[in-house]
Symmetry: C2
């Protein structure tokens, strides 16, 4: 298996390639591409080597070819359906994020347990009741669940998602989700990112 | 310097300790505390060893004492002032997140460059024009900037923040921010977290 940090860098290499493409470049050297991510060219070559032979020594990489390869490796050559569970502040912000509605992703359903929200819609997407999740996963072939529910509800909602056939979870609640090994779970923990910053500030002893 | 992954675990140990405290526990063993994060007890002991001697062998840890130590190490014993720059979908969601207004953090100002937004307020916090950042950092002793501006604006806004005296940046825009070594910069890149999931789904070859 490829280390997660490598996969994270792949998506940043892809973003850098797309920016070079917008500026009209056809090829890019490993120094230029690695420089965009502040990594060494040897790291870029090591990352790509997990997936095969790309580019020719001394000639750099063909931008459209490498971008296409990275899209395939990242699974962006097809469209994955997403259910956002918990349509509060963060769920609503994510719904409007164009990163969820382009290149490989589509928001197929919103779910909540608040009777005031169920039955209405946000940005044109219908809000279903959380109990409908098993049917929706089958009907709409949903593979990804984004959890933006309060922390006390997160583990039960994740269990329901796994039972319904969801294969990948992006969890924003500050609690660790346990799932079977074939289910991918990513945590985005904004409050612990902030605490890294406050640890740094305390070290600088600013007062 | 302590590895960032260790600091991230510290904030998760603290959250687990607070949960045990809410349930009325006074002490906890390293097995129980490590288990909450799905890590080995030896990892917990290694993480804490960076900061000194905690707990007694065979007796476990005093929950209030260890929690207090972790708060001090994470810089939560004082309150850090935050400026949220870019009051759009994500900036507004973060403003309402209770994690930004408790234990060690306070939102001191909102900033934007949209004349329709400047001068109004959200959740009781005033929206200033981005050009006021240097004055606000001095007047309100702001140390942390959260960037929720579009990608093309992010680097210029980060440069202005650093020039204004900001010492820590949490960046949500999908572009890497370069800052001097004494400035801590954390990136939260939701779109690359999603691509790790689509890479996993492509590997399972679901179709
Ligand atoms: N707001 C932010 O910017 C932010 C930042 C970081 C982390 N988080 C985390 O994201 C989560 C959501 O935060 P928020 O600010 O959007 O909260 P919120 O209270 O605004 O929204 C939560 C939503 O989840 C719904 N819900 C509750 N239990 C449910 C269940 N069992 N099934 C389905 N829906 C359920 C609620 O009805 C509500 O609509 C929280 O865990 C929070 O800690 C939020
Ligand atoms: N919405 C999400 O859930 C989400 C998720 C992941 C990443 N992001 C990233 O977060 C950023 C914000 O996303 P959003 O959805 O909130 O966008 P948005 O367009 O809703 O909000 C952006 C805000 O920034 C302001 N702005 C633009 N240029 C500025 C400048 N130079 N100085 C100060 N303010 C400026 C705009 O006036 C607007 O209010 C983007 O970079 C986006 O890629 C958003």
């Amino acid at each position: 298996r490829v280390p997660m940090v490598t996969v994270k860098r792949l998506s940043r290499y892809l973003r850098a390639l797309e920016k070079f493409q917008e500026k009209g470049f056809e090829t890019v050297s490993s120094e230029e591409l690695a420089g965009e991510l502040n990594v060494k060219p040897s790291q870029l070559r090591k990352d790509l080597a997990y997936f095969g032979e790309f580019g020719t020594r001394g000639m750099g990489y063909s931008i459209p070819k490498l971008a296409e390869e990275l899209r395939r490796i990242l699974g962006l050559h097809r469209q994955w359906a997403i259910a956002i569970i918990g349509v509060g502040n963060l769920g609503t912000a994510l719904l409007r994020y164009k990163g969820l509605n382009e290149k490989g992703f589509r928001i197929a359903a919103l779910l909540d347990d608040d009777p005031e929200k169920v039955g209405s819609s946000r940005s044109g997407v219908h809000i279903f009741h959380i109990d409908d999740l098993p049917n929706l996963v089958k009907e709409k072939n949903i593979q990804i669940a984004i959890l933006t529910v309060p922390a006390p509800a997160a583990r039960a909602v994740a269990d329901l998602a796994v039972k319904s056939g969801i294969k990948a979870i992006l969890n924003f609640a500050p609690v660790s989700i346990k799932a079977p090994p074939d289910i991918a779970v990513m945590h985005v923990d904004i409050s612990s990112e902030l605490k890294i910053l406050s640890h740094h500030l305390a070290e600088l002893d600013l007062s």
